[in-house]
């Protein structure tokens, strides 16, 4: 630990002596003038030079090595008025310039002029960003949802209408690191996976590193999703309340002395629907609810020190007496807490230190005929992380940092009053990274990085090189490439249909971490002003994928390593993204061609013994996936949205034959058996769905602005298939379609005050 801190400090301070004494510099925060919220990835340029940068995730920017003299500083951010100021810098001057940008409602055409630079960060390789306004506007079943919006991006897929899990570039949901205010979230779902836990009222920034992600992050094979909650309005009290069909939410924010606060609460409102259903149906839960609470307090100790405390708490609770003398209860949720200290060492050294705590729990219990089954599953993750950014000159952006933590996984099962399984895994983890974004010339930049990751359970140390390059043949074209090595020390036991029983497991002796390489090349272009056209090609390998053997009925008495199966896989694909940002009609078209394969020993073998295991496509593999997202501003009051998705049908296994065991000694019924060929070698019918939404803005008795949203999910009622069920009680066997969402109207009302 001592050495770790020393190394980070040494890396950070080493180049200090190299900074120029004669040139000037500008640094500061960029924020929203109305709310005081810092703006992430806002652009700052010196007009008469080629110098420019973007604000980091704290809203901070720094421009160094500026020639003394008079310059014009310009700051821009989509949806905000252009900031322009002339300043005169003396030799050696270190000017602190905090910039406030004013929101600019409907003058999009003007704003777009700067969009080329504004979207620099968002259009880095493998990266995508979703605006919170878009999350709220896009039609989604029952409730605006962060993950549902992300699933519209090329390369991101959903397992089904019922699952908000993120399947990114051939990776399963556990291959995506999810960070809320820099804190790991282990089960980001409500309603057993239907929604994500993130309340759109509380969210400020959502960015997804789909692949080839930088050395700053690690611990997952595939991708990283970072979500930052709002800091809260620093200028005035404000709030919002939304009444929806499934859940309602309320949020407030406002200033405190030298800071701000934000609170956002959401709760399901299913009780009336359950009461009605209970009158006419028997198998309806006695109660079900979920809620979540997000909060943040910010305090600026002085110009160079900012403190914040953020928390999240959310719970799902179900009580369901599903038969006489039989009931199931389930209580699960997440809690996170992060304390953040942002410190500016000097105009060109910026740092951020965060103490994080994350807890995930689930407590399912069944009581059938006075036979209880109870599970007590807890994950506690406490960590400390630090990130230091150092800008020695305009050619280099050096960043380094550490992340150390203690992860505890406790799992205890009881059946009929007796403990049947108990494990307590405690592991210390740590990582160090160093990265340099080196702008070789106006056209070329290269970002080498190295990450060292350790995990004590099994004593694993892994080195992860990362590299990305960019070449700009013109102002409108960016050619990019990235490579990265990634390791994962955790695996998730889950089911795409139900996330309430999720269990995480770790590496150990005999269970080495999964690892893989990612290769990405891409081109980001601006064919015309206000338009964007991006292409990315990727290939990724997945080795040593470890997951609990699904064919083990009972793990008791088996060594830990023997309870796993170890497989491998690969994925490759092409993503196209065409975007229009100007005019009344905005939106994007995303297309994804992808192939994903997995292989596990003793799985997908020919039916007769001794055949070799074969690669197979997982169920979520879709060859073609097309998304069209459009928004049309009909007038200042009325706007409409449209989302259309077309995708190749998911993979499924076609039964070919059948037989039956008639005499199995411990069973009074015949045991039917299916004969299959290659696993998942058939395809469901293509999936397609159209969602439309209309919203009307107005005022609510002068209290504030209000908005009605009317949405039609699956507007032409396409009965997409989730999977086929084969009824072997029928002879010949009959195939039954298990369908996804039907036509679903939803309505919501939002009041901003």
């Amino acid at each position: 630990m001592k050495y770790l801190a020393a190394l980070v400090l040494a890396i950070s301070l080493l180049p200090l002596s190299a900074s120029s004494q004669q040139s000037a510099s500008i640094n500061g925060y960029i924020s929203n003038a109305e709310s005081g919220e810092t703006l992430i990835s806002a652009n700052v340029d010196i007009l008469d030079s080629r110098k420019g940068t973007s604000s980091n995730t704290s809203g901070y920017f720094a421009l160094t090595n500026i020639e003394p003299g008079t310059h014009t500083i310009v700051a821009t951010y989509i949806g905000f008025e252009r900031f322009k100021q002339e300043i005169t810098l003396e030799p050696g001057e270190k000017r602190r310039l905090d910039i406030e940008l004013k929101p600019e409602g409907y003058q999009l055409d003007e704003v777009v002029v700067e969009s080329q630079r504004e979207k620099e960060d968002q259009r880095n390789i493998g990266m995508a960003q979703v605006k919170t306004e878009m999350i709220k506007k896009i039609p989604t079943a029952f409730q605006a949802d962060v993950f549902r919006s992300l699933q519209l991006l090329p390369g991101v897929k959903a397992a089904s209408d019922f699952s908000s899990g993120l399947y990114i570039r051939g990776g399963s949901p556990d291959q995506t690191l999810i960070l809320l205010d820099r804190t790991t979230v282990y089960n980001p779902s409500h309603f057993f996976g239907f929604f994500s836990t993130f309340n759109p009222d509380a969210v400020k920034d959502v960015r997804l590193y789909k692949g080839g992600y930088p050395a700053k992050y690690g611990g997952r094979l595939g991708s990283v999703l970072t979500i930052y909650n709002k800091d809260g309005n620093r200028n005035e009290f404000a709030g919002s309340a939304t009444i929806g069909m499934l859940a309602s939410r309320v949020s407030i924010e406002g200033p405190i002395k030298n800071g701000s606060y934000m609170l956002a609460f959401r709760r399901s409102t299913l009780e009336p629907i359950l009461a009605i259903l209970q009158e006419s149906n028997e198998n309806i839960p006695e109660s079900f609810y979920f809620w979540d609470l997000n909060g943040k307090i910010n305090y600026d100790a002085n110009q160079n020190n900012k403190l914040s405390l953020a928390f999240y708490s959310g719970v799902d609770d179900l009580k369901f007496p599903f038969a006489e003398d039989a009931s199931v209860n389930l209580n699960y949720g997440n809690q996170t807490l992060s304390a953040n200290w942002t410190h500016i060492f000097s105009e060109n050294i910026f740092s951020n230190f965060t103490l994080t705590g994350s807890r995930y729990f689930n407590f399912p219990s069944f009581d059938i005929a006075s036979t209880p089954f109870e599970r007590n599953n807890n994950i506690y993750d406490f960590s400390l992380k630090g990130d230091i950014e150092y800008l020695p000159n305009n050619k280099h952006e050096i960043s380094s940092g550490f992340w150390i933590g203690n992860l505890t996984l406790k799992l205890r099962d009881e059946f009929d009053g007796q403990e049947t399984f108990s494990s307590r895994i405690q592991s210390q983890y740590g990582s160090l990274y160093l990265q340099d974004k080196w702008s070789i010339s106006d056209k070329w930049s290269i970002t080498p990085g190295l990450r060292l990751a350790t995990f004590s359970e099994g004593n694993y140390v892994r080195l992860e090189p990362r590299l990305s390059m960019e070449y700009r043949p013109s102002n409108r074209v960016r050619l990019q490439a990235a490579y990265g090595r990634y390791n994962q020390f955790l695996t998730l036991v889950s089911n795409e249909a139900f996330t309430g029983f999720d269990v995480w497991l770790t590496t150990d002796e005999g269970v080495p971490p999964a690892y893989g390489n990612q290769y990405v090349i891409g081109a980001k272009t601006i064919p015309w002003e206000g338009y964007g056209f991006d292409v990315e090609l990727y290939y990724r390998s997945m080795k040593n994928l470890f997951e609990p053997d699904p064919f083990l009925p009972d793990r008791a008495g088996l060594p830990y390593a023997e309870t796993f199966r170890f497989g491998k896989g690969y994925a490759y694909g092409a993503e196209l993204f065409f975007e229009r940002q100007i005019g009344d009609l905005t939106g994007f078209i995303g297309y994804n061609f992808s192939v994903t394969r997995r292989k596990f020993p003793d799985f997908n073998e020919p039916v007769l013994v001794n055949g070799p295991a074969r690669f197979y496509p997982p169920k979520y593999d879709r060859i073609h996936d097309l998304n069209v997202v459009l928004e049309y501003d009909i007038s200042r009051r009325w706007s409409s949205t449209l989302v259309f998705n077309y995708a190749t049908g998911q993979a499924f296994t076609q039964p070919l034959g059948r037989t039956t065991a008639f005499d199995f000694p411990t069973s009074s019924s015949n045991l039917d058996q299916l004969l299959v060929g290659r696993v998942n070698a058939s395809r469901l019918p293509p999936y397609h769905r159209l969602d439309i939404g209309v919203s009307r803005k107005g005022t609510f008795f002068g209290i504030g602005e209000a908005e009605w949203q009317f949405q039609l999910i699956n507007a032409y009622s396409r009965r997409n298939i989730w999977f086929y069920n084969y009824d072997l009680d029928k002879n010949p066997a009959q195939r039954e379609d298990i369908q996804l969402l039907p036509l679903l109207p939803t309505i919501s009302y939002t009041l901003d005050f």
Binding site: E282, A323, E324, D325, I368, A369, T371, D416, T420, V493, N495, E496, A497, E547, P550, F551, L552, P553, D554, A556, G557, L558, F593, V595, D602, F603, N604, E605, V607, V609, P617, K619, Y620, H624, Q650, F652, T653, P655, L656, G657, R658, T659, A661, D663, F664, P665, T666, S668, L671, D672, Q673, L674, L675, V676, R678, V679, N680, A681, L684, N731
Partner: protein, 299 residues
Amino acid sequence: MKYLSIYVCLLLLLSGCELYEQDEYQEYYVVESYLIANDELPNVRLSTTSEITKEYSFKKNAVSDADVEIRLLNADSTVAETFPYSETNNGIYVSRVSATVQSKHLYQLHVVTPSGDTVTSTTYVPGDFSTVNDLQNRYTYQSEEQIEVTTTPSSYITGRQAFYIFSVNVVNPDSDNLTPFYRDLVINQENDIGNYFKNSSGIINEGNYEQNENGNITLTVPWLAIAFYELNDVIASAIDNNMYDFLRSQDVQTGGTSLSPGEIQNIRYNVKGGIGVFGSMATDTNRIYIERPQTITNQ
């Protein structure tokens, strides 16, 4: 030519043309037989599989006129004794000689079909075990006093831990004797009462139980296992690898795992030249009487 092949590859790639194609249906021989330690040699069923779109029945798919034998093997897998079988009904073969299945021994099923194909499978009969505690004659349903069975341990050829299945078999099935949970399943949810005549646990590893100084283990029978009041047989079974593999993979096929719905895998059969189960087990049975609790009697 070089460019042409590149174009073809690209076209295949972009059209998503998969080389991973669905197999055609193929017919297999199916065997089924279970040796139970200390019981007589069991019957053997021989049939074929049926295409999923076709009607299936054992009678229709039965294979007659096969040459069926069960062989007792020595430890080195040489044949110690052969038990010839003859067909009684279509596809059902019975031993021509009377013989008792010996625990801790290897047996082989050897079938030559009329068309000359050979189907074989081998099983090791788990070590016999017995109950060592005295059970009460009568237990009151859902009372605090549960049925406890203490048995000697079973052993297996590989030295692996024992895999158990615990069953409660009703002696005189009667819908009036269904316990409340099962009554609801049968009467209100229209499940077949026959499904509960033998009410079995899943596979339970020996490692789930604490062994006492003699190596014995004690099982508490959960009330969930009791589907009927009155006379029941509580049976503990230690199963061989063939039954273990069959049951655990058949269970996955019918759902209830972390696999995605629709992702179906073949069952693990340890049969050469066909599919099916040639399994074995050692069992121990105790008969008990389940009384209705007072409150339920009064209902």
